[in-house]
């Protein structure tokens, strides 16, 4: 068996079968996947949530995770943010020829562990191999389906004046952990990506309150962009307090050094919830008991004023606009 992925592994022929059986099936096996039919067939009853996302993170291994864990968590979290219970995922790999088989195995092992942790199954998949240079090591696309429980109605347009805004923990961990590994920028930090499946946390939150109006995971674009999206979708203003937003020292230090703002740095294991004021404390308390919600806090509230805008009370007692992320945040010049 070759220790690298070569073009023939994507040919559909013998090597492709060997790759699927020896690598993918061995790592991910479950009855639906093992059938190896053209599609996974399963029974379903109720309201379906369906989502897809692609993952192109560089580097593919980073402190606290890898592209596989990221792909599984990302799709699970997108489902969970609609209040859905994630059930089945698809995985499609686009592999650049030359990827060490060992790397692929590591990623599959991580996918297996993450999907087991989250209680979802990978039921269908695909593999393509492209020439060197046509992809960067490995790209993954995932899609997922989940079941939305009866009575749950969570949407970005449901925020109402008076609602409390809850954040599930520190911001910027993922973005800075990945950035710290980038070529030409590597700096040493003990920081790890927060990459995690949040469906367990969400299920507990929904159990604690039926008045969770909005949930969203602040991934690319960071907390600032997510809050702006919610303000626009719900046509409300959001007021947050800088002092209440938890940021790790490592993240603050790196951001100061690079000229970045943690509000705009990506997270992969955090959520923002907009909750009716009377239930906010109960939801918060429940969140803090979950391993992925330990650092939860109320960071602000929804207002009637300035619809579509996010305003932040700064540490020194003034206030300012918090806008969406524009372009890529690039380190400053001086």
């Amino acid at each position: 068996m070759s220790d690298k992925i070569i073009m023939a592994h994507g040919s559909g022929g013998k090597l492709a079968h060997e790759l699927i059986e020896k690598t993918f099936l061995e790592a991910l096996s479950n009855p639906l996947l093992a059938k190896l039919d053209d599609s996974a067939v399963f029974d379903f009853k109720g309201r379906l949530a369906f989502t897809t996302d692609s993952y192109v993170v560089k580097p593919i291994f980073f402190p606290g995770g890898d592209i596989g864990r990221l792909a599984v968590c990302g799709t699970i979290n997108d489902l969970a943010m609609s209040g859905a219970v994630p059930l089945y995922l698809s995985l499609a790999f686009i592999i650049e020829e030359g990827l060490p088989r060992e790397d692929l195995m590591r990623i599959l092992t991580s996918i297996k562990a993450t999907s087991r942790e989250a209680g979802v199954q990978i039921v269908t998949g695909d593999t393509k191999v492209v020439d060197r240079g046509s992809a960067d090591k490995l790209f993954i696309n995932t899609a997922g389906v989940g079941l939305v429980p009866k009575g749950v109605s969570i949407s970005g347009s449901n925020a109402r004046p008076g609602d409390k805004v809850i954040l599930s923990g520190t911001i910027g961990d993922h973005g800075i952990a990945v950035l710290s590994q980038r070529e030409g920028l590597s700096f040493s930090t003990a920081l790890k990506s927060d990459c995690a499946p949040l469906n367990g946390l969400v299920a507990e939150m929904i159990e604690a309150s039926s008045r969770i109006h909005v949930m969203r995971d602040p991934t690319r674009g960071g907390l600032a962009t997510t809050l702006n999206e919610l303000a626009a979708q719900s046509k409300v203003g959001i007021r947050i307090e800088e002092e209440k937003i938890p940021v790790r020292d490592e993240v603050r230090g790196a951001c100061e050094m690079l000229g970045l703002d943690p509000l705009y740095v990506a997270n992969e294991g955090k959520l923002v919830a907009v909750v009716a004021p009377e239930d906010a404390e109960a939801v918060l308390e429940r969140m803090r008991r979950n391993v992925y919600g330990k650092g939860s806090s109320i960071i602000g509230e929804v207002q009637q004023d300035h619809p579509g805008r996010v305003v932040m009370k700064t540490r020194i007692g003034a206030s300012r606009i918090v806008d969406m992320l524009v372009g890529d945040p690039l380190p400053r010049i001086c």
């Binding site: 030409g184 920028l185 002092e243 020292d249 603050r252 230090g253 100061e256 000229g259 805008r309 305003v311 700064t314 540490r315 020194i316 007692g317 003034a318 206030s319 300012r320 606009i321 806008d323 524009v326 372009g327 690039l330 380190p331 400053r332 010049i333 001086c334």
Partner: protein
């Protein structure tokens, strides 16, 4: 977090604000020269806290913003020469020149690479001996020593394919030009912190002496700026004009001798074009005779084409502090950080970007 939280303390900030309000009786127009200070002021909402007697003006201290279109065109033309790898700090990528930007040039096939340090650019030169690596030297006295260091290093290692397009600019001459123009009346100057760390606070003495304007060097945390404003107000109220430092942890009167020596070793002063201000004598740095072979402008034959200015953009007047971003008809409508017309909207330290991103709550 140590060295950050102390300088953002709400209580201390409120104390300084009370002190400023108590002392300030005369109207005072203070200019923060540096774009970094503009960002601090806007990001933390400092203007809202100051009494109505104090007006803060944003100055021309954003290296990206003051780069003239003719110079940007040179960089873009250099990037288009076959075999050239143009290395630059990230901020420059999106700045529109007369016709295009480095970002667009890259999309068209030019090899433009973002580096975080001049030594990364040097590394690219080592790894690509058959190519010419040009570093786009933008920045004030803060950045120039690091570029000088890369040239000295290249010289020591005999790296022959490394060159610099030196568009470096000097701060004291441009402030002098601004004051001599008579367009702006100032009662106090918030002097740039990092520039002063290199050139020393003494470099501002001519302003307090010859123009009678109080000068205080400031750091970049909110308390630094408030402390600086407090010190400026104290001078204004007593009709004094001296140079003081509100950033002692970073700045000494004599500056950083080693950095200054490196700059002097590699560069010589010459005229430079500033956006909005035209040519200012002795305000630029070019490679001196001993290091001329590293000068990208001399090494290549290229034609940047005629210079065009964006229509309706008042970046020049904003940089001269005679207008503010809100005076611009394009501001927030045609010109936003997502589709910038002028450089002050592109750079993270540009006045227009700072007003746009943080300012609307005022």
């Amino acid at each position: 977090m140590r060295f950050i939280d102390e300088f953002r303390s709400s209580e201390l900030a409120q104390g300084l604000v009370r002190g400023i309000s108590r002392h300030s009786t005369r109207r005072a127009r203070l200019m923060e020269f540096c774009g970094g200070h503009t960002v601090t002021i806007m990001k933390h909402g400092i203007r809202q806290l100051l009494p109505p007697t104090i007006e803060m003006l944003s100055g021309p201290g954003c290296p990206v913003c003051v780069t003239d279109n003719a110079d940007l065109d040179k960089a873009i033309a250099l990037a288009g020469i076959p075999g050239v790898i143009l290395t630059t700090f990230g901020d420059m990528l999106k700045v529109p020149g007369s016709r295009t930007s480095l970002q667009e040039a890259r999309a068209d096939g030019a090899d433009v690479r973002i580096v975080y340090s001049t030594l990364d650019a040097l590394q690219i030169a080592r790894e690509n001996p058959a190519r010419s690596v040009v570093f786009l030297g933008i920045g004030f006295e803060t950045t120039a020593p690091t570029v000088a260091a890369s040239v000295v290093q290249a010289d020591q290692e005999r790296i022959c394919n490394y060159r610099v397009l030196s568009l470096h600019k000097l701060c004291p001459p441009v402030i002098k030009a601004l004051l001599d123009s008579g367009e702006v009346r100032l009662d106090g100057l918030v002097c740039p912190g990092h520039v002063s760390a290199v050139i020393g606070s003494r470099s501002w003495e001519f302003i307090s002496r010859d123009y009678g304007i109080p000068c205080v060097v400031s750091g970049f945390e909110p308390l630094d700026v408030l402390q600086c404003v407090y010190m400026l107000v104290s001078q204004v109220e007593r009709s004094e004009s001296r140079v003081e430092i509100a950033y002692r942890r970073g700045v000494r009167p004599e500056g950083n001798q080693r950095a200054l020596e490196l700059m002097n070793q590699v560069f010589e002063t010459g005229p430079a074009r500033w956006r909005g201000m035209g040519q200012v004598p002795a305000s630029g740095l070019r490679l001196n005779k001993a290091y001329q072979r590293y000068d990208a402008e001399l090494a290549f034959d290229f034609d940047p084409g005629p210079t065009l200015e964006p229509e309706g953009c008042i970046c020049g007047e904003i940089l001269r502090a005679i207008k503010t971003p809100r005076d611009c008809q394009l501001f927030g409508k045609v010109c936003t950080p997502a589709s910038p017309v002028g450089p002050c909207m592109v750079s993270s330290e540009g006045s227009c970007a700072a007003y746009y991103l943080y300012g609307a709550a005022e």
